[in-house]
Amino acid sequence: MPSNKSTVQFNGTKEQETELLAVIRELKDEKGALMPIMQKAQDIYGYLPYEVQKIISDETGIPLEKIYGVATFYSQFNLSPKGRYRISVCLGTACYVKGSGDIYNKLMEKLGIVGGECTPDGKFSLDACRCVGACGLAPVMLINDEVYGRLTVDDIDDILAKYE
């Protein structure tokens, strides 16, 4: 088991595994099967932790490193699950010049995770995103579907407290 695993305990079910194995059986002999398998695997589990990538590697014979390389290349693939509260900080141009980078850093510090990860209790996950179409409110972040605009670093504690 590698040392650099997800911060969150893997809770895959037998049903999910059966579903993934069926997907792999169906696709594995096609050329270029890896990406569709990974996409379906992410649909099933919500993310691609070590345990899921290992199943794909064992079943297809594709080296685990190759799968991991693809998973870390494309930002659409997640190595960590999403939290009950999904925080997205806009790092688009307008928000960025208005200081959203500081907000993002503050959240990482406060939650003890880096972008793309989820807190060990499964509560918050943090991601950067590009333009949510609310540039007038820059800098902006979303928690699930709730939009928070005209943010300052000092607002963070109070906002997070609402989700305790």
């Binding site: 590698p2 650099n4 070590y50 064992d58 080296p63 799968i67 991991y68 390389g69 290349f73």
Partner: protein
């Protein structure tokens, strides 16, 4: 084949259709610099060092992958190109740990060489962010220093394509891209087999073996220690390259002289143990054939291959010969037979091996490799490390006389020396097995069907009324192909030789590095193997079973091949591993 006519730098050039600009230029004696390109292994046109101008083309094109066309006009050294290449180098240096003075590759680094050629005077021309990586020293045999990595992906390609393993690859994207293993695992946690081919192809100091030269100097200086060295067949075929000799020079005599001057108490030869391996292995093979043992039997000399088999073909470990490798047989006999004979406490012996191999560093730490209750081999170094040691000890290699190995464990036959070339173990084993089976002397000792640098070779011999089917594979991708055939029931060999590195040990991961420039246009394996076959041809005794010192070993100590004592000291066991933990 049809030829294509083009102009390179105004000169008329004719080259076979399908050639790249790089190949056509090479034919015309024009060198185009390369960095990421490795023929048939890494043809990705990524590094932009080999850019050339093609008349009518919008952009500079990568000569390593661009095919030639009729009437094409190519320029390889215009000011624009020289400036472009220089910029490429400066950009590489902007994210490169430039500690060249203390770098293991200083003097034979391909990046350093190109910077020198292109007059890169300011290595800090571009400022900006730099990545900082921790060294990965988790594997038994090597270190990865990504601070020196230029992301050429040669190591990735050789691991995945040539060896069929793929435990390293590019992770992340853009500036954060780094070569590593899945989930940032250390190499030692993966199914890496320690073959060291990644080191052999690395153009910089990003990959290198764990260096144990210091331990050897200390051991020799310790009056309490009795320090003995053995050298593998292929070392004599490669070591000369480190001292300016042309590739393909046999430096056996000078190597023995150098080791003696460094102060080893005995200078012995792994070739002696190769002869011993043949005695045990041929006996084991005949026993398996006669008594319905597991067939095909597969050789066990190559520790990279052994680990590969354990990870990727765990259901075939019973096919592996139980014979220890020559390195380990040597160490076992050194600390039992020789120690008893000379009245030396085996605990005081430091058993050093010089190998063309990095997997040997892993092998010495395996279980069941301690015939005398202490490790058979204490320190395994590569050919490259030996060259470093010789230089550090102030020995002027080229001026040395040719000397012989010491006796008794320096006496060897032609069969022992060809172990270093793919097919060599097979040929050596056949020389002994055929004579044992027929009871007659062979008219022709040379089994040419199993010679040559092809990845997979097959042959069938009628011996004493029986058809003996054999196969030889080198490079683990080829091994996989061959074994899949065996598993599918498409082939029924009796005996298979497998070597982890393509071409066998002469092209091992511990041999002197050959720059891409040379390697792309040179038959490195064939030239080095030539040394061994010539050495064999010149020997008075060319069959392992006729080695007088091996005969004496059996008379005085082991009894007969395959005896109880031979099994206790010269044979080993394997484990079943998985690909992913």
């Amino acid at each position: 084949m049809e030829n294509i006519n083009l102009k390179i730098n105004g000169l008329d050039v004719s080259a076979p259709a399908g050639s790249t600009i790089l190949e056509a230029a090479h034919l015309a004696g024009i060198r185009i610099p390369t960095l990421c390109y490795l023929k048939e292994i890494n043809e990705i046109g990524a590094c932009r060092m080999c850019v050339v101008e093609v008349k009518g083309a919008r952009n500079l094109v990568a000569a390593c992958v661009h095919p030639i066309n009729e009437g094409m006009e190519v320029y390889t050294n215009t000011p624009k190109l020289i400036e472009s290449r220089k910029k490429t180098l400066q950009l590489l240096l902007s994210n490169h740990d430039k500690k060249c003075l203390s770098c293991v590759r200083s003097g034979n680094c391909e990046l350093q060489q190109l910077c020198h050629e292109y007059g890169v005077e300011d290595e800090d021309f571009y400022e900006g962010g730099m990545n900082h990586y921790e060294l990965d020293d988790s594997a038994a045999h090597m270190i990865r220093d990504n601070n020196k990595c230029i992301l050429c992906r040669r190591c990735v390609a050789v691991c995945e394509k040539t060896q069929g393993i793929g435990v390293i690859g590019p992770n992340n994207r853009g500036f954060a891209t780094m070569i590593g293993s899945a989930f940032e695992m250390g190499l030692g946690e993966t199914s890496c087999v320690s073959c060291g081919q990644c080191i052999a192809v690395c153009p910089t100091g990003a990959l290198y073996e764990k260096d144990y030269t210091g331990r050897i100097i200390e051991a020799i200086a310790d009056p309490e220690k009795y320090v003995v060295v053995q050298t593998a067949p292929s070392v004599r075929a490669g070591l000369g390259e480190e001292f300016g000799y042309p590739m393909g020079t046999d430096v056996e005599g000078k190597m023995a002289a150098a080791l003696r001057r460094m102060g080893f108490d005995k200078v012995f030869d792994t070739d002696w143990a190769a002869d011993l391996t043949i005695m045990e292995e041929a006996t084991e093979l005949l026993d398996r054939i006669k008594n319905g043992g597991v067939l095909p039997m597969i050789t066990s000399c190559s520790p990279g291959w052994i680990k590969y088999c354990e990870h990727y073909f765990p259901d075939m470990t019973e096919n592996l010969s139980t014979c220890k490798s020559p390195q380990q047989m040597f160490g076992a006999m050194l600390k039992t037979y020789f120690a008893e004979k000379e009245g030396i406490d085996p605990k005081k012996i430091v058993s050093v091996s010089v190998m063309p191999c990095t997997a040997k560093k892993f092998e010495i730490g395996r279980d069941d490799q301690s015939a005398a209750g202490v490790p058979d081999v204490d320190i395994a170094i590569t050919t490259r490390e030996l060259a470093r040691l010789i230089k550090r000890c102030g020995i002027e290699f080229t001026k040395l006389p040719e000397e012989e190995f010491d006796n008794p464990m320096g006496e060897s036959t032609g069969a022992g020396v060809i172990f270093g070339a793919t097919g060599g173990v097979m040929e050596a084993a056949l020389r002994t097995a055929v004579e044992t089976l027929t009871g007659e002397e062979l008219a022709n000792l040379e089994f040419t069907d199993v010679r040559g640098t092809q990845g997979i070779k097959e042959a069938s011999y009628n011996v004493a009324g029986m058809d003996v089917k054999v196969a030889v594979a080198s490079g683990l991708g080829n091994a996989r192909e061959l074994l899949n055939k065996v598993k599918a029931g498409e082939a029924d060999y009796h005996f298979i030789e497998i070597m982890g590195c393509p071409g066998g040990c002469v092209n091992g991961g511990g041999q002197p590095q050959v720059s891409g420039d040379v390697r792309n246009f040179t038959d490195v394996r064939g030239i080095r193997a030539g040394v061994l076959y010539r050495n064999d041809e010149a020997k008075a005794i060319r069959k392992s079973h006729e080695n007088p010192e091996i005969k004496k070993l059996y008379e005085e100590y082991l009894g007969a091949p395959g005896s109880h004592r031979a099994h206790e000291t010269l044979h080993t066991s394997y484990v079943k591993r998985t690909v992913n933990k």
